[in-house]
């Protein structure tokens, strides 16, 4: 069975979904990702769905769950590159994914994660200056 590759970049994990996610693949990703977060002690997870054309309610909920699981493992999840049509579909399905952070593209998503990760002691650093 195919698996979605999970790349490690510093203290972040990068998941780029390039194929259509079917349900078992999504479940496998959920498992792999939580394992990797625990193993690498990653602080951020970036999921790129820019090539995903079809997102149904199951996948939407799965992304929501991944975010919740990562949060428990103390990692920030950002979903990036959602297509307009996918966004409209998810909203029509009533899935607004409140728990997930979003960004337009990978670059912005990385900035967002870095900002979040540094804000803990970044705020202190700024105050000290």
């Amino acid at each position: 069975m195919d698996r979605i590759p999970i790349l490690k970049m510093g203290n972040c994990l990068l998941v780029s979904i390039q194929v259509d996610l079917h349900d078992s693949l999504a479940m496998a990703l959920q498992e792999d990702l939580t394992d990797r977060i625990a193993a690498t002690r990653a602080r951020g997870v970036l999921i790129d769905i820019s090539s995903l054309e079809i997102v149904d309610s199951f996948i939407g909920r799965m992304l929501d769950q991944i975010a919740a699981m990562s949060r428990i493992l103390d990692a920030e999840t950002v979903v990036v590159g959602m297509r307009p049509a996918v966004a409209i579909t998810l909203v029509e399905l009533g899935l607004v994914m409140k728990g997930v952070k979003t960004a337009l593209n990978v670059e912005r998503g990385m900035e967002l994660i870095r900002g979040k990760l540094s804000s803990g002691f970044g705020a202190d650093a700024r105050r000290r200056r």
Binding site: V79, V80, M82, P84, V86, A87, I88, L90, V91, E92, V96, M97, T102, A103, L104, N105, R108, G109
Partner: protein
């Protein structure tokens, strides 16, 4: 069902009295009570000729009942075109239909005078023709209505396109001034435009200005929230601006809650957007 009726008299009556019938018909149309906007007499005569020629062509084949048959193709095309022109020219539907009805008087008079010696035949012919002209008039009204509907549909599309522009206020800051009532169809257009523009301009913040939205009820609020949620999924934050005092009051009375940043004016929203993207506007001289 095309009931074949052989009325050899009719075609010849039409052919031989073409000129007089048209003259009387035109006179009837010009003097009639429901003539509508002024039409050029020569143009009217041309239309009468086209109609009568089309009718003659069909009647010569012996078909007096089935307007949908192939013999009537020319006449149907003419009537469709005629109705379109009339609809565009500001005629009412009854004024358009009366064009066909006005033919009855002059045509029936001719039949009376030409086939008058056999009253039974004349009466039967008159009855058949009357039904035929009624059918044709109905068809005229129908295509008149169709062309009117097309105009309405086209206008709706134009309004939908016109009223949802997305403008770039600054690098990464978009504004969507909404004008008119937000129904679900328009929300769809707004959403699509906005999301595509977020991608095109790689925007971080979108300001939805509802100054031009006359009322905000629970449904409109729901549509706004949907748009905001979709933009958020694309990684852009929304600010809703242009909420008038009365609208704020109605929203509170209705129990509508907008779970986003709101500002009363577009200027305030723009300032907030600049602040969030780490910018500020200040005078050149300190």
């Amino acid at each position: 069902m095309a009931r074949k009726v052989t009325r050899p008299g009719l075609a010849s009556v039409l052919r031989e009295n073409r000129g007089e019938i048209i003259e009387e018909w035109v006179g009837q149309l010009v003097a009639g009570p429901s003539r509508g906007p002024q039409v050029d007499k020569a143009e009217l005569r041309g239309q009468c000729m086209s109609f009568l020629d089309g009718l003659l062509e069909a009647v010569a084949q012996g078909n007096l009942t089935d307007v949908g048959a192939a013999e009537y193709a020319t006449l149907r095309d003419f009537l469709d075109h005629f109705s379109r022109v009339r609809a565009a020219g500001g005629f009412t539907s009854s004024q358009t239909a009366s064009f066909v009805f006005a033919l009855k008087r002059s045509l029936f008079a001719r039949i009376q005078s030409e086939i008058g010696k056999s009253p039974v035949e004349a009466a039967a012919l008159t009855l058949d023709l009357s039904f035929l002209l009624d059918d044709l008039a109905l068809r005229t009204v129908e295509s008149y209505q169709k062309s009117r509907e097309q105009v309405i549909i086209r206008q709706q599309q134009e309004i939908a396109e016109l009223s949802t522009p997305v403008v770039q206020l600054w690098d990464g800051i978009l504004a969507i001034p909404l004008i008119g009532t937000l129904d679900s169809a328009r929300t769809q257009v707004v959403m699509e435009n906005l999301l595509q523009s977020i991608v095109d301009y790689s925007a971080e913040i979108a300001v939805i200005d509802i100054t031009g939205v006359p009322t905000v009820d629970t449904l409109v609020a729901q549509h706004l929230l949907k748009t905001v949620a979709a933009a958020r999924l694309m990684g852009a934050d929304c600010i809703i601006s242009g909420i008038r005092p009365q609208i704020a009051q109605t929203m509170v009375h209705l129990g509508v809650e907008l779970d986003v940043a709101t500002k009363s004016s577009l200027a305030d929203a723009f300032a907030l957007a600049l602040e969030r993207t780490g910018r500020t506007v200040r005078p050149i001289k300190e």
